[in-house]
Symmetry: C2
């Protein structure tokens, strides 16, 4: 009935979509749980940390510095300010390593970008810490494929609306690719855009959502980014 | 000889140009010096902190979280990891207050923006922490005067070149207003743009530069932002 939609811009989430991220955060959490082990079992420490993180989100936002500060706050609270300074120093040092963790591209990412770049304007759409994300993009050596990088403080529908205005496009001209249903998929589909979900092997609790039903005309879930090239009917690689 | 330049976009630095910032950072530094006072005299503590800050800049960037982490690192180092956890907790809490410090506009800022907005596209050009700057802009209630906010990880000439490309203008169509010669004035004038310096009563050491001579055709120093309206020959308030 309606003409096939024409996608003009493809947005890629960065962390755990283009490169590994979550495992580095989990390593820092392990250091924290290890430091706390005489006070609380690891799963309890993790639970308390999660509470602190979520309550600090409006103030600190996302990223390695925010995460390190939330861990320190939780460690001091749980130890009733009795933690040895050496343990604090250990957390601080591991947090610094997180900020500068190595970058490992996920499989097939570069191939896919190479194939899409001639036909679409590609952008990175990420939330988090400005300097973290700029450093990772630089390390990734993927800058040349992207028109630019959009770093947002959050990925709520309102943030995507602002993005569409800024890009001067309609939602139906935009396709978002990412690993988080909550941040990359739901808000975009809700606004009338297209979205492709690529689950990552582990997901941060805060990004999890319950069972949802999304319209097949505007949503796909694929197992590997490589499938973007042949399992998404809206992506066309011929002029 | 040449036609009068026509400025299309005016960029405003934010911290200590539109609103107070440095005093809140100095308050946190006072807490740090107070905590360290049995180990080092305040001026020595400040010197050590500055060293840590500058060495962490490439990793942490600017902003309240970066500053808090650098203070904690310095405090642990200077105390040889002997600082009581209660002192760490005190720094962490004061750092959190810094992230959420009240916002006080500088005198005449709103009047000036009101007068300029009908004739120029106004933008905020700030370096620092994404969530810090978005929160401050929201608290300032100045959003309506600005086309958008550009948050950069640094303000080197290369960062301004990227800005000009992104805004699709030539340097001579851009005027920058700010309190930092190093970040707001020198790189813009160097690239061929216009710049107006409004000194703030206190300047962070890192932003200080030696004696410099700037061309009067493209540079002014004014004592108050109000003078933008009548002491800058390139700004014209009639159509």
């Amino acid at each position: 009935m309606t003409a096939a939609p024409e996608i003009k811009i493809i947005g890629f989430d960065a962390d755990d979509t283009l490169w590994d991220n979550e495992p580095y955060y989990r390593s820092l959490e392990d250091v924290f749980c290890e430091v706390m082990k005489d006070i609380l079992p690891p799963e309890e420490s993790s639970k308390e940390l999660y509470k602190t993180e979520v309550s600090n989100l409006p103030l600190y936002g996302y990223g390695s510095k925010a995460y390190t500060l939330s861990i320190l706050e939780t460690a001091l609270r749980l130890s009733r300010e009795q933690l040895p300074a050496a343990s604090i120093a250990r957390i601080l040092k591991a947090g610094k390593q997180l900020s500068d963790s190595p970058l490992k591209l996920l499989d097939h990412v570069e191939t896919v970008l190479q194939n899409l770049a001639p036909y679409y304007k590609l952008i990175v759409v990420t939330k988090g810490d400005l300097i973290d994300q700029e450093r990772k993009l630089k390390k990734s050596r993927l800058e040349r494929y992207f028109h630019h990088i959009e770093i947002m403080s959050d990925k709520q529908p309102g943030d995507y609306e602002k993005l569409f205005r800024h890009l001067d496009i309609r939602p139906e001209e935009f396709l978002m690719v990412g690993n988080s249903l909550r941040s990359d998929i739901l808000p975009v589909v809700e606004l009338g855009g297209y979205a492709v979900h690529i689950p990552y092997h582990t997901t941060w609790l805060h990004e999890k959502v319950g069972d949802i039903q999304l319209p097949a005309e505007r949503f796909r879930e694929i197992a590997s980014i490589l499938k973007l090239l042949d399992e998404c009917p809206w992506i066309k690689l011929k002029p």
